[in-house]
């Protein structure tokens, strides 16, 4: 009898994947300098490093610049309707738990028209990785105010400036029952962007990553103070969270040891306004997952399905 020889012979280890395996034939049509490029690269690197099989990987999106991402991935994609990426992804994961499900959504798609789905998706805690590209504007439709636009921002729909303070996606997510993973990344620190997406991918449950993303076309200066001054960034480091490389640690010296298990401190960090926190704010692997609770325990053979349908229909037989 042999041990694991078969596994080695049959496994995927001999497959060599590069970033190019995950690039589709469609070239990204985002503007030059758009932060979405960095997010796309980080995802493709993750797929390569995790050796995700393209046919076992699913990218679901709604509408917006961010939601174009599935077109640029060599994997399965579902470019859905506005605000409905999460219910689509939930259905996919329930039906095909073997798939790696990613959701790319934007601040308008997720926090405005899709807000209802967003809240319940957090509570359902279905195992998927949600990347919310937050550039604070509707860019695809040429600059309308979004729920996360800074107060006073002049846009096509608010020529006198927006009236309300922005919604905080981190605080909102952390306030929902059953929340299990919340992180924040920025597109201009690729190393942490990759690490955070990787942590989210490995989380057992619904992982929500807000990615602050620059829009050079319609919000060219929005993040300049933070991009140009690393001291304005707060990097959250912890053995159960983000690990900084020595090189990066020299550039971003403003760091805090934050235990992702501490939800109270996570909420305080989420509320910071002057400084942008980057890292894993909260993580709890013990939260029940709806897809796990409702996972079918048996196999639905054709005979079984037929018998079930017959049984149900028999109830209405006159």
């Amino acid at each position: 009898m042999t041990n694991n020889v078969a596994e080695r012979l049959l496994g995927y280890d001999d497959e060599v994947f590069g970033v190019e395996h995950y690039q589709s034939d469609v070239l990204p049509r985002w503007c030059s300098g758009c932060g979405d490029n960095a997010i796309l690269t980080a995802i493709q690197r993750l797929c390569r490093d995790e050796k995700l099989l393209p046919e076992k990987t699913m990218f679901v999106s709604g509408i917006g610049c961010s939601s174009r991402l599935p077109h640029y991935m060599n994997a399965y994609g579902f470019h859905g309707i506005h605000g409905r990426s999460l219910p689509v992804a939930e259905g996919i994961k329930m039906a095909r738990p073997d798939l790696n499900v990613f959701v790319t959504t934007g601040d308008g798609d997720c926090c405005s028209i899709g807000a209802g789905h967003w809240i319940h998706a957090i509570r359902y805690n279905i195992d998927m990785t949600v990347l919310m590209h937050d550039n604070g504007i509707y860019g695809l439709t040429k600059k309308q105010v979004s729920p996360t636009s800074p107060q006073g921002l002049k846009t096509n729909t608010t020529p006198r400036g927006s009236y309300l303070p922005p919604l905080n996606p981190l605080s909102t997510t952390l306030g929902v029952a059953n929340v299990s993973f919340v992180a924040q990344a920025v597109d201009w620190i690729p190393e942490t962007l990759y690490d955070i997406i990787s942590a989210a991918f490995h989380h057992n449950g619904f992982s929500f990553v807000r990615i602050l993303q620059r829009c050079p076309e319609f919000m060219p200066d929005m993040f300049d103070p933070w991009v140009q001054d690393p001291q304005q960034m707060l990097l959250l480091e912890h053995v159960n969270g983000l690990h900084l490389s020595p090189e990066l640690g020299k550039v971003y010296t403003n760091q805090e040891a934050h235990d992702p298990a501490d939800i109270n401190r996570a909420r305080e960090i989420a509320s910071l306004t002057e400084i942008i926190p980057v890292g894993v704010l909260y993580r709890n692997e013990e939260i029940p997952r709806y897809d796990d609770i409702r996972r079918p325990r048996g196999v639905y053979t054709n005979e079984k399905i037929r018998a079930g349908i017959e049984e149900e229909l028999d109830k209405y037989t006159i």
Binding site: V19, S32, E55, P216, E247
Partner: protein, 744 residues
């Protein structure tokens, strides 16, 4: 060791063995436990009759079930006291019924015991109410309420093993069904998907059948067929793949190792045998089918994941045979169980047993021992095989790769987890169980088997090769009473002839065990009437004093007769020898189990001597020398403390990659690149992406300094540093150098 002369003296007056010596007696240490009906212990057991029982819940104790019910219904404190009292009486009544040989399910005996108690009670209302309340809390399913309630007897080891084996089989069957049915469904889906893409599926007749009769008038199936055929996909399964999937499906569906539905299926293989040879033969006979099935499962996994590559996997599966099977593969299938007992050692059984235990087959052997100590009446006399059968487990440990569990019948419930562990162990296993069943015993099998463990005649141990690499992790003896002692010692009190309380600690030896059974009466004798009581010494004490020349002492054990009168009986030489032999065997087991290991003790002793020698006080020194010595030590200490902390010196900082680069050379802080495409769009030969899609300067001479400066200005995160122009003749250099200063 005492001389042969002394031993002769002690037995010289012995007549023909007095068979009445042990009639209706028990060893003094067991006198208080003689009537088990009054005790609350882990028998009787409830053996679940639920075929779906898993390896976690196949066996229960009556007292455990009653405790659970009381915890549920009886409030703590005085309020629940009456309820507790009533239900504990019921439990005792059930136990008594079982001891009287009444069998049935727990519910049946519950009802019978309840009727007995209520019928005999003066005020039965409250008792009836309590019993009803408890009855409502009793699970009535096959697992507990419907389970058979049984006492400890000679059949118990086989029954428990059969149940445990069935539970393990059921657990594996459930996992197997889930896995294989899923594979069948998914493979069928692949074939079905292929069919729907075929021309055959798009014929009008086929389309008509798929719509059904309800709406067949609504559609034009000819037209539907024409349209669907027009855009039909042509990526159908290759012939070889289809053939492979069909063969795999056939292998999965026709296997006989498990039923694919929970319903009983007579074509499924048997896994329980009463002969080693037959079990081995069956295992080998099924090997070809097993190999084919495991191969099919692996192929199915690959096909479903769509990663079967003929160039790579065909040759592997062509050579697939029993050497390709892993232990994880085998763990999917049921263990084989062989039932054996003492008699198998009389013929060729031993070699067959050892052959199995030396193999890597999942064959488990239950070896039931009914006799540990041969009686003087045995035809084999002093060379009988009784001792060998009791030592089978110790021999099996030497093989080093088989799971071995030895226990008395009484310990089986407590070791149920270890029994399951042995059945789940990837290789062979031996369960050596002493039943305690004897027609001539004065105590029930439960006490007999417990006494064998106490007396070290049949110690409890488990050897699990999977538990770790060394004896400390593999071998376990802590289930024995007072495992660190040569014999367990019990405190005993009784009254002497003058009604004075006598209190003493008494060891329980092999002779005490022998005193439980009348067939061993020949090993004992009456003490000589003129024997001085000061010369009488307990057997344990006698063995301890063996090296001392106390020739006049005579070993005895204490027994209690049916009138609770304490007697001393002489232990004969043969039993002394047997006891010595068992004591020696137990000593070896202790050493293997880490208790009093002689190697360790010798090492400790040597190290202690070394330490004492090295730290022996020096002869008193002269006062001035002593002062110098003290000063010297102090200075040395200070020197050490004040010495520069070399380790604390900061290590040289790792050179920054940017520092290494000359300021004259252009460079990019690649790690910070956000892949925004700005630079590559300016010049994709000068700027390129690495494997992580982050930019670097591929060729500084592939463009102009102007392009370098423009790229630096366009970069969203300002990580491009243009350096100095490589071509000093480039146009507008003074202006470009000024612009480049911001990115130096």
């Amino acid at each position: 060791m005492k001389s042969a002369t002394v031993r002769k003296l002690k037995t010289k007056n012995r007549q023909t063995p007095d068979q009445s010596l042990l009639t209706n007696t028990v060893p003094a240490a067991l006198a208080a436990r003689r009537d088990l009906g009054n005790l609350r212990y882990d028998y009787p057991l409830i053996l679940t009759s639920d075929a779906r029982a898993t390896d976690q819940d196949f066996i229960f104790t009556l007292s455990g079930v009653i405790d659970q019910i009381l915890q549920e219904i009886a409030p703590p404190g005085g309020t629940g006291e009456q309820l507790r009292s009533h239900i504990l009486r019921l439990e005792q009544e059930i136990r008594t019924l079982v001891q009287h040989g009444i069998s049935g399910s727990l519910i049946e005996l519950w009802e019978l015991a309840a009727a007995n108690l209520i019928g005999a009670a003066d005020n039965s209302d409250s008792l009836e109410h309590s019993i009803d309340e408890a009855r409502n809390a009793l699970p009535v399913d096959g697992k507990i309420g419907g389970g058979e309630i049984v006492d400890c007897d000679g059949d118990m080891p086989a029954r428990i093993m059969a149940l445990a084996c069935s539970a393990v089989r059921e657990t594996r069957a459930e996992n197997f069904r889930l896995r294989v049915n899923r594979l069948i469904v998914r493979l069928t889906d692949i074939l079905h998907a292929d069919y729907t893409k075929s021309d055959k599926a798009r014929t009008s007749d086929s389309l008509k059948r798929s719509v059904g009769t309800g709406y067949e008038q609504v559609f034009d199936f000819d037209e539907m067929s024409r349209i669907l055929s027009f855009g039909a996909a042509r990526d159908l399964l290759s012939k070889s793949r289809r053939q492979r999937i069909e063969n795999t499906l056939k292998a999965l569906e026709s296997q006989k190792f498990f039923a694919l539905t929970p319903t009983p299926d007579s074509s499924i293989y048997e896994y329980e045998f009463d002969s080693c040879a037959v079990a081995v033969k069956e295992f080998q006979h099924r090997m070809l089918e097993l190999v084919a099935l495991i191969k099919a499962i692996h192929i199915a996994d690959l096909e479903i994941a769509n990663i079967y590559k003929e160039s790579k996997h065909d040759s592997y599966f062509d050579r697939f045979d029993e050497t390709s099977i892993s232990t994880q593969d085998l763990a999917m299938f049921p263990p084989y169980l062989v039932y054996l007992d003492d008699e198998h050692l009389q013929d060729t059984g031993l070699s067959e047993i050892l052959a199995i235990l030396s193999s890597s087959t999942p064959i488990k052997i239950l070896f039931q021992t009914n006799t540990i100590l041969s009686s003087l009446n045995d035809p084999e006399g002093p060379f009988s095989t009784g001792f060998h059968s009791a030592q089978l487990a110790t021999m099996a440990i030497g093989i080093n790769s088989a799971y071995v569990l030895q226990s008395g019948n009484a310990g089986l419930f407590r070791l149920r987890g270890q029994i399951i562990g042995g059945l789940n162990f990837e290789g062979p296993a031996l369960f050596s169980i002493f039943s305690g069943s004897s027609a001539t015993a004065n105590v029930p099998p439960y006490l007999m088997s417990a006494a064998a463990a106490e007396a070290r005649a049949f110690p409890t141990f488990i050897f699990n090769p999977a538990a770790g690499p060394d004896w400390a992790s593999r071998f376990r003896i802590e289930d024995n009473p007072q495992a660190d002692m040569p014999w367990p010692v019990h405190h005993q009190e009784y009254q002497d002839q003058d009604i004075l309380r006598i209190s003493e600690d008494v060891a329980f030896t092999v002779a005490d065990f022998a005193a439980c059974d009348e067939r061993y009466a020949g090993y004992f004798d009456k003490l000589p009437e003129n024997q001085d009581q000061d010369d009488q010494v307990s057997l344990a004490g006698f063995l301890e004093e063996e090296n001392e020349e106390t020739d006049s002492s005579i070993p005895f054990v204490s027994i209690v007769d049916e009138n609770n009168i304490l007697h001393r009986i002489l232990v004969t030489d043969r039993l002394v020898q047997a006891t010595r032999r068992y004591a020696s065997a137990w000593r070896s087991i202790q050493e293997l189990g880490g208790i009093g290991n002689s190697h360790a003790e010798n090492l400790i002793s040597r190290e202690r001597e070394n330490w004492q020698r090295e730290n022996r006080p020096q002869p008193a020194a002269k006062p001035d020398t002593l002062e110098i010595s003290e000063i010297s030590v102090e200075e040395t200490t200070n020197t050490v403390e004040e010495a520069p902390d070399v380790a604390a010196e900061p290590e040289p900082a790792e050179p920054d990659p940017a520092d290494e680069t000359s300021s004259d050379d252009a460079y990019i802080e690649t790690l910070r690149c956000t892949t925004c495409n700005e630079c590559t769009q300016i010049n994709n030969r000068m700027f390129a992406y690495n494997d992580n899609m982050q930019a670097f300067i591929a060729d500084p001479d592939a463009g102009t300094f102007k392009e370098m400066v423009e790229a630096a200005e366009s970069c969203q995160v300002c990580i491009i540093h243009p350096g100095v122009p490589r071509n000093q003749d480039e146009a507008d250099l003074p202006e470009l150098l000024v612009r480049a200063e911001d990115f130096a």
